[in-house]
């Protein structure tokens, strides 16, 4: 037990930092609360450094009696979550004073939610998955309502109620799995029976119970991934929650949910078992419905955060294409679909964070999220507007951005998995999405804002983060090979 404690170090470091931030909040005076952000980022850096050392020393293994795994998959996602949390914390320096006396709680809860996501990336046991999921969810429920205004409270309450139902549904699905396998371990390394081995050796008698379990798990995690028909909370929460929290939710929560779904379905249920085709078809249908509903609903939005909410529903549909196409292989072993999901999630993290932080930098000064108020923003706030434009291009999937490569990659996987109908739906949806994404761009650059003053500049930290996000989107759009290889190595642990 203690011998594996170092593999647990990054999570412990982030959790300990959260506790430290809470304590430091009690003594740091109101005007120096930015130090708390510094402390949080330092903790995240320590966690990242620890993880680098673990990788360099080759400490990848299944540990804690197979309930956790430190493998290339969890390492990829832990780095992603640390980067996302750090980015949001640095970018929210400008926004944090709005939380008043709750700034310490904001940073601490962000760290706790991140530690939950890091646990989720490595969790290999149903109970561990559930506890990590609740750690993430409960922190996020509170974060969504941290401003205590009407919209925020409504969003937080909706998120809490729907999230509680989703958790119950997930538990129900897990109960079926436990009933079938008699164990909560997804995979074991010592030859003991596991869920994966039970399903691999499974007979037709357990099929109906397995399908029930799959449906419940997909419904519960579908809530976290924000796919149709479990997307109801998304636009309300993205609009009502504080903007940094919405940015964090749209990227971190979604990536964590997809990581778990890959673990449970790819590693647990398996793509080539007798239920493999069942769950692939289920995700193919969910993907098509999510893309269509998300994009059509986004067309009608006048509020940019609601629009980004529906756009994230549509993007979740794009990721699901990868899950449906999981059996397309490259080099005879790497799943194109799964590595496509992982690669897409990483590029989406840069892109959506860039878009949300640009929206935050602008709306923090105009106090409006209406798309109509973005008129002439290209002149009024040059850097945030340029980054927002670039990120919207990437969300649409136009070259030379990372979003383009990700879409090509995942559609290629779908074609190789004989899902041509799904690719046609996806491409048509991309055309629809261009309409509303580029509508914002038109508003910013082609409409003129007579008599409206140039906005006060966002602080250097926010501008720096924006430029970094845009550079990331551009770099991985022009030279995506390292990230694609990292994603392929990450999913090879299941193959």
């Amino acid at each position: 037990m203690l011998a594996s404690l170092d593999r647990f170090g990054p999570e412990l470091a982030v959790m300990a930092t959260a506790g430290l931030v809470l304590l430091a909040d009690l003594v740091v005076p109101r005007r120096h609360k930015a130090w708390l952000a510094g402390l949080s980022v330092a903790g995240l850096l320590a966690a990242a450094l620890w993880l680098v050392i673990l990788v360099l020393r080759g400490r990848q293994a299944s540990f804690f009696d197979d309930s956790m795994a430190l493998d290339n998959f969890s390492i990829f996602f832990i780095f992603l979550f640390i980067a996302v949390c750090g980015t949001v914390i640095i970018a929210s320096l400008d926004y944090a004073p709005r939380f008043g006396s709750h700034q310490g709680e904001f940073f601490a809860l962000m760290l706790l939610a991140t530690s939950g996501m890091m646990l989720l990336a490595g969790a290999r046991d149903l109970v561990t998955i559930f506890v990590s999921l609740e750690l993430t969810s409960i922190s996020q429920f509170i974060l969504a309502g941290l401003l205590r205004d009407d919209k925020g409270s409504e969003a937080a309450l909706k998120y809490l109620l729907l999230g509680a139902i989703a958790s119950a549904v997930i538990l129900y699905g897990m109960a079926f799995l436990f009933g079938i396998a008699g164990t909560t371990r997804l995979v074991t390394t010592n030859g003991a029976p596991s869920i994966a081995s039970t399903i691999a050796a499974g007979d037709a008698g357990i099929r109906s119970a397995l399908i029930l379990s799959m449906v419940f798990l997909a419904a519960g995690f579908g809530f976290k991934m924000a796919v149709v028909p479990f997307q109801m909370w998304t636009p309300d929460v993205y609009q009502g929650a504080p903007t940094p929290v919405a940015a964090f939710l749209s990227v971190g929560s979604k990536a964590a949910a997809f990581a778990v779904v890959l673990r449970i379905f790819y590693e647990g249920f398996g793509p080539n078992t007798f239920v493999g085709n069942d769950w692939k078809e289920m995700f193919a249908i969910l993907a098509a419905v999510s893309m269509c509903v998300g994009n059509v609903m986004a067309l009608r939005q006048t509020n940019i955060r609601r629009m980004l909410g529906y756009s994230s529903v549509a993007q979740a549909g794009n990721f699901l294409v990868g899950l449906a196409a999981i059996s397309a292989l490259t080099n005879g072993r790497t799943s194109l679909g799964a590595s496509g999901v992982v690669f897409f999630l990483a590029t989406y993290a840069f892109t959506n964070l860039g878009a949300f932080i640009a929206v935050m930098a602008i709306s923090n000064r105009t106090d409006s999220d209406e798309i109509a108020d973005y008129a002439g923003m290209g002149r009024r706030a040059p850097i945030p507007a340029a980054v927002l434009l670039f990120c919207l291009l990437s969300l649409t999937g136009l070259p030379p951005t990372a979003g383009f490569i990700a879409k090509v990659y995942i559609f290629n996987a779908a074609v190789q998995a004989d899902l041509v109908w799904l690719v046609i739906v996806a491409v048509l949806n991309t055309a629809v999405s261009a309409f509303y994404y580029l509508g914002v761009a038109r508003q910013m650059y082609l409409e003129t804002a007579e008599g409206l003053p140039t906005l006060v500049r966002a602080p250097w930290a926010t501008q720096g983060i924006l430029v970094v996000a845009a550079m990331g989107v551009l770099t991985f759009g022009v030279y995506p090979i390292p990230l694609i290889e990292a994603a392929q190595r990450a999913v090879n642990v299941f193959g």
Binding site: L2, G19, L22, L23, L26
Partner: protein
């Protein structure tokens, strides 16, 4: 499997019948005029462990109680976890001692936090 459900079903039938039979009997005896009917205020009042009932049961509690309830639950749970550890202290050894210390330290952080955030003051 079915047989075990049958036992649970028998228990269910019994559990439903147990409260229903006295109520039905009371009504039936009243209908046939076997049971005398002589109500008086004390007889028809709510039984409250021998006390004279005061007011309605549906009163509103002050919302601030929730903070005290939360803090109570935290320390209640702490005590529940520490008891078995204390009983088996010798058998568990240093490892469990360190774990218990970490557990208490985490709760202590919460305690200091609640104190400094004035959760324990009656506003």
């Amino acid at each position: 499997m079915i047989e075990q459900f049958g036992r649970a079903g028998f228990l269910l039938i019994f559990a439903i019948a147990f409260p229903l039979i006295p109520i039905a009997a009371s009504v039936a005896l009243g209908v046939f005029r076997i049971r005398p009917r002589k109500p008086d205020p004390i007889k028809s009042s709510v039984y409250e462990c021998g006390m004279v009932p005061v007011g309605d049961a549906l009163v509103r509690y002050n919302v601030r109680y929730y903070l005290f309830a939360l803090l109570f639950v935290v320390f209640d749970v702490e005590a529940v976890f520490l008891y078995p550890w204390a009983v088996a202290y010798r058998a568990l050894g240093v490892y469990a001692f360190v774990e218990a210390l970490i557990f208490i330290a985490i709760l202590f952080v919460g305690y200091v936090y609640a104190w400094r955030k004035r959760a324990m003051e009656w506003i």
